[in-house]
């Protein structure tokens, strides 16, 4: 099966590969797809005004999974958390022209975004609760 030019571009030059040191400003999303054994780690770094100032990913999987998460990190930068939650797998799949059998790769990327946001929010709630009780 041939990959689209956009998938190939992200696959050959993945953006924002790597990871952040874990701290309060970082949200980490980890997801996996048992059927293909793909694993994806996506992290967001949120500044004090609640804007995602940076994003990183590490994906072990097929070209479409790598491209989906690479694109996701590009799209996440500069967004508020609310804006980030509006990124849907369908947009990722369309942008990358993923064939139907590879749609699940974009779903994985959307799940990773959601997981990263939820992890960040959990940390923030935890921090607020600590301040209140402390």
């Amino acid at each position: 099966m041939a990959y689209s030019d956009k998938v190939l571009d992200h696959y050959e030059n993945p953006r924002n590969v790597g990871s952040f040191e874990d701290d309060e400003s970082v949200g980490t999303g980890m997801v996996g797809a048992p059927a293909c054994g793909d694993v994806m780690k996506l992290q967001i770094k949120v500044n004090e005004s609640g804007i995602i100032e940076d994003a990183r990913f590490k994906t072990y999987g097929c070209g479409s999974a790598i491209a989906s998460s690479s694109l996701a990190t590009e799209w996440l930068k500069g967004r508020t958390l609310d804006q980030a939650t509006t990124i849907k797998n369908k947009e990722i799949a369309e942008e990358l022209a993923l064939p139907p059998v590879k749609i699940h790769c974009s779903v994985l990327a959307e799940d990773a975004i959601k997981a990263a946001i939820s992890d960040y929010q959990k940390k923030q709630h935890g921090a607020v609760a600590e301040k209140k009780t402390g």
């Binding site: 980890m30 996996g32 048992p34 059927a35 293909c36 694993v39 780690k41 072990y60």
Partner: protein, 172 residues
């Protein structure tokens, strides 16, 4: 002759259980296969030969499925509890996924055959642990669907690691 509607376990006259003796399974497979081998039926009618070929295929599929602990577990779970949507992985723990990333990093970083062999051994040990867990899941009368699926999914990831190690070994 072989009943084409028989399930894979019945086909080999084995109880529908996760634990099985691979040597015994192979013996049963070879015995069955020798009965229906199309070459033996060269003098028979076209229809008989076609039927024999179908049966040989069925026996082959059955053997490949039961031979692999992963495929056997999936088959057995669906046989006992009905169809499972394997695409929907269910919840995988953060710890497990972190470990998976670490395995993948270790495989990518392995710079010698010895290092890859070492990783392979360690992954295989993990597989064995998961297989022991699976045997426990299937031993009870009321199989806990979610737990069984979770263990099978984990095993699937470990198999993927073995594939990746093999791929690296082949290209090293």
């Amino acid at each position: 002759m072989v009943q084409s509607s028989a399930n894979y376990f019945e086909l080999f006259k084995l109880p529908a259980d996760f634990s099985l003796d691979l040597v015994d399974l192979k013996k049963r497979y070879l015995r069955l296969q020798s009965v229906v081998h199309p070459d033996k039926l060269a003098h028979r009618s076209e229809l008989e030969r076609r039927r024999a070929l179908q049966q040989a295929t069925l026996i082959n599929d059955a053997y490949q499925t039961l031979k692999s602990p992963l495929l056997r577990a999936k088959y057995l779970l669906e046989f006992k509890l009905g169809e499972v949507n394997w695409e929907q992985g269910g919840e995988l723990s953060m710890a497990f996924l972190t470990e998976q990333i670490q395995w993948r990093e270790a495989i990518a970083a392995a710079d010698s055959m010895a290092a890859l062999e070492d990783l392979k051994e360690r992954v295989k040990q993990q597989c064995q642990q998961l297989e022991t867990e699976l045997a426990q899941h299937f031993k009870v009368a009321n199989i806990v669907r979610e737990s069984a699926i979770a263990t099978i999914n984990q095993l699937q990831f470990m198999y993927k690691l073995l594939e990746e190690i093999q791929l690296r070994s082949d290209t090293a």
